[in-house]
Symmetry: C2
Subunit: 343 residues, 2 copies
């Protein structure tokens, strides 16, 4: 009637039951060559009978790797963070890795602490995920030595690590092209604040595509604000006050687009007949707008999986880190706010 504390079953137990040496069991477990079919079978049966599970800790101690990744994020509040994490988690667990989640709140001291813990825990690799501001990131808050590292949603040149960012320029271009191909020529551009990398690159894509199509860039058509709806609302009204009205609005975020949509509604301009609207980010509310918003999708999950895969590859090859800058394509999501579908 006493409490029965189940003692862990070890490789020795298995060896004993199978009548072989512990080392042999280990080899079988690792699918090592030069093992007779017979002993292999005996070992496997013993494993099954005893319900044996290898002690990962002991294994890690001996092998000095842990099948574990560290993920440090800037903000666990950001609307984009979650999807990237989801991508990372997915590849990681599909390939037998676990991932530690750490929140640095954008504070270097905290980042350092977390990094120290991760190093102590002997993670095999580290992902540094953070908001995509305009100033590129510097080195990690702690010297990571040989531990493979990848930067996600930001880039750095301070350190030799792979960096994963969205192809904002391409995204800006594809949206603009869509509008151009639909016959729009005076495309207003509602932009976000200048301290974001995305702001500049989306604008670049817009300008680039304009000149490709032989349309002159008109500075009067671009406005700079915040990322939110209120800002989109206000900037749209500004553009609507122009003597030479735009026939399309490219908004650098979906929130801006929602604000713009409201302003247009207020003014009684029809979307997309009078003015076509396209957003950016593909937030989940985009499809619920009236009309459903055509937008450019930020490939968040894919960026996460890419980061995870790159890291795991680096871990497996063990070769020194490459300093690759990877831009993941931003796909256009066509809905009804530009008149290309159902309109």
């Amino acid at each position: 009637m006493g409490t029965k504390k189940t003692l862990p079953v070890t490789i020795r137990d298995v060896a004993q039951l199978a009548g072989v040496a512990p080392g042999t069991v280990s080899k079988v477990l690792n699918n090592a060559p030069h093992i007779s079919e017979e002993t292999k079978a005996r070992v496997e049966e013993a494993v099954r009978k005893l319900n044996f599970r290898r002690n990962t800790i002991a294994r890690s101690l001996k092998m000095s790797h842990t099948a574990t990744l560290g993920l440090i994020t800037d903000d666990l509040e950001g609307v984009f963070t979650m999807s990237m994490m989801r991508g990372v988690e997915a590849v990681a667990s599909a390939q037998g890795f676990s991932v530690f989640l750490c929140n640095s709140y954008g504070d270097m001291a905290r980042e350092k602490d977390h990094l120290q813990v991760l190093l102590d825990k002997q993670v095999d690799g580290i992902i540094l995920l953070s908001g995509y501001k305009v100033h590129e990131r510097g080195a990690p808050a702690l010297d990571l030595g040989q531990v493979p590292t990848v930067y996600l949603y930001q880039y750095t040149r301070a350190v030799s690590a792979s960096c994963i960012i969205p192809d904002d320029l391409g995204g800006g271009a594809v949206a603009t092209r869509h509008l151009l191909e639909l016959g729009r020529r005076r495309i207003g551009f509602l932009n976000g604040p200048p301290h974001y990398e995305a702001t500049h690159r989306r604008l670049d894509g817009y300008r680039q595509e304009l000149t490709t199509h032989g349309v002159a860039f008109d500075p009067a058509l671009v406005r700079v604000g915040k990322w939110n709806e209120a800002s989109g609302y206000q900037m749209a009204h500004e553009l609507l006050a122009l003597s030479d009205l735009p026939d399309a609005l490219f908004c650098a975020s979906d929130s801006l687009a929602v604000g713009a949509l409201e302003a247009l509604r207020e003014r009684g301009v029809r979307v997309p007949e009078d003015i076509a609207v396209v957003g950016f980010d593909n937030r989940n509310f985009a499809k619920y707008q009236r009309p459903p918003l055509t937008t450019v999708a930020l490939p968040l999950v894919e960026m996460g999986t890419k980061a995870g895969q790159l890291l795991i590859d680096a871990i497996h090859t063990g070769s020194p880190q490459q300093a690759e800058l990877i831009e993941v394509e931003c796909q256009l999501v066509v809905r009804q706010s530009c008149g290309a579908v159902g309109g």
Copy 2:
């Protein structure tokens, strides 16, 4: 000129430098009693000089605990998940624990796999986080043995574990009371779908508070729909079609409230003058509504910290798991949609 692979410095190295035995070093590190000030100082200096860090893996092997928690979540997409995770991460790292992040997608097979990995990695405790549907959860997908477990945002009776849920009933009551105290008597209730626990408990809170204040419950005033804006829009219109109009609308989610607000605007009814509106959840868009939405805050972060703290406490005490059901208070967030502030 060869690559200098930095060999890890061990406790033996420290011992040697300090001129003491390894065991002594270990004691100093653990602040054990019965150590002379002098050797303590010598050891500490050696530690500093060599920049020694204890090997956590070896330590875990010996001590059979890892200062690590596992967090398995249902959906890494849910709007509420993130905040709870933030809470968990915060307490955990503040108390020296790291947390493994696992996504089960609500799939028991995946949950089982993750649980197995977590057990293999010898986490000290596990948090099961998932959507708060009406059917209580069963046991974990795998027998967790003695590993402390807490259920977050759901409850179970299948297993002896602490469960953390929001006090939806209290939340329903506090919102209703607020309306009642503001003099409203015909309070419409826009509810979510019946397969959520929250749906029932918020309604219960509403009814309970009504009777407390001697106001008769009128079934004609309650509507059941989905959680989203469209549903709120439609249900509000239904209530507006009543001959005996409501003077307030209690919406079981902020999204419902947003839809309701739109319907009211369409009908030209003034908020809060004609009809007061209160939401539930305190989503971040609530404060940007016009008028800013009074709502009941879901204490997500707090629930996360509570879960983490409870788990860590259970780990430290080592006593058998309690089967406590903890309801975390939902606070009323007063803004302007009820006329209590600035109106």
